[in-house]
Symmetry: C2
Subunit: 158 residues, 2 copies
């Protein structure tokens, strides 16, 4: 069932906005900058620098430019991609599947159908997950109200 468990660590993956379309052009940020160090990107995304390097190593980051000294220089497009990956991560999709998706993106436009199928399958998972969580919420509410009723001190009459 793939119980997710994202949680912890101030995640700000979504900060790069809703765009996150690997086929779109890298639109510049307000300050016009389009070069970010790994620690800047770590700050933007909430991912650690380690994790960003690891993402690149396993093929989840398509390709990151380098400075003349070999240091990574992330672009706005990279940030958009990371934001999208963050969303996929929230769905509970395994990293291996995200890598598969990234490979399809790299292969070009003829993989549109496959990509779409993956996303539609993910969409179903998300819908199911939301339903599960809402069901769980009902049970939690029931239990919480039981506890609330059982506590003699009505410090908060719900």
């Amino acid at each position: 069932m793939t119980v997710v468990q994202v949680a912890k660590s101030s995640r700000r993956v979504g900060s790069a906005g809703v765009a996150a379309c690997e086929a779109e052009d890298g639109h510049l940020r307000p300050d016009g900058q389009d070069q970010y160090t790994i620690s800047e990107v770590a700050g933007f995304t909430g991912l650690s620098a380690h994790t960003l390097r690891w993402y690149e190593r396993i093929g989840l980051m398509p390709h990151v430019d380098r400075s003349h000294t070999g240091q990574r220089r992330f672009s706005n497009r990279d940030l958009d991609w990371l934001a999208f990956v963050g969303k996929l991560r929230l769905t509970g999709m395994p990293v291996a599947d995200m890598v598969t998706y990234a490979e399809l993106v790299r292969e070009g436009d003829h993989t549109f159908a496959q990509r779409r199928a993956m996303l539609e399958s993910t969409r179903c998972d998300v819908l199911q997950r939301i339903a599960e969580l809402q069901d769980t919420l009902t049970i939690l509410d029931h239990k919480i109200s039981t506890y609330a009723g059982a506590q003699c001190a009505p410090e908060r009459t719900a």
Copy 2:
């Protein structure tokens, strides 16, 4: 590589119904039976027998009766508890926290306030998670419609 491994094992944790209240009495199943072997419970819950033993070992199963030969005999109350644990698991709550909750239950009624606080915190997590997933859904839908538009063959005009 690419180990696609989504959603295995038919989970039927919720089969015990919405009850799942550790303070309630063990209401009998329609067949009047109240003794289940570990493999039966594994079948009911979708958890493996290994996992059920492990749950007991770490203190997540309060106490399971034994037959005269030492084999586990799960009761309806155990099933209810497992159903509730399954719900907590769906929320992404770590097993360690669930063990803490189980310990509070074992300690008796004077831990009601703490238990309630835990559940309320979990409730908040669930609400946040649902919001995240709904946000993700929006993005998935946007992307899927992009792909749908890009595919020349309109075999399914959405």
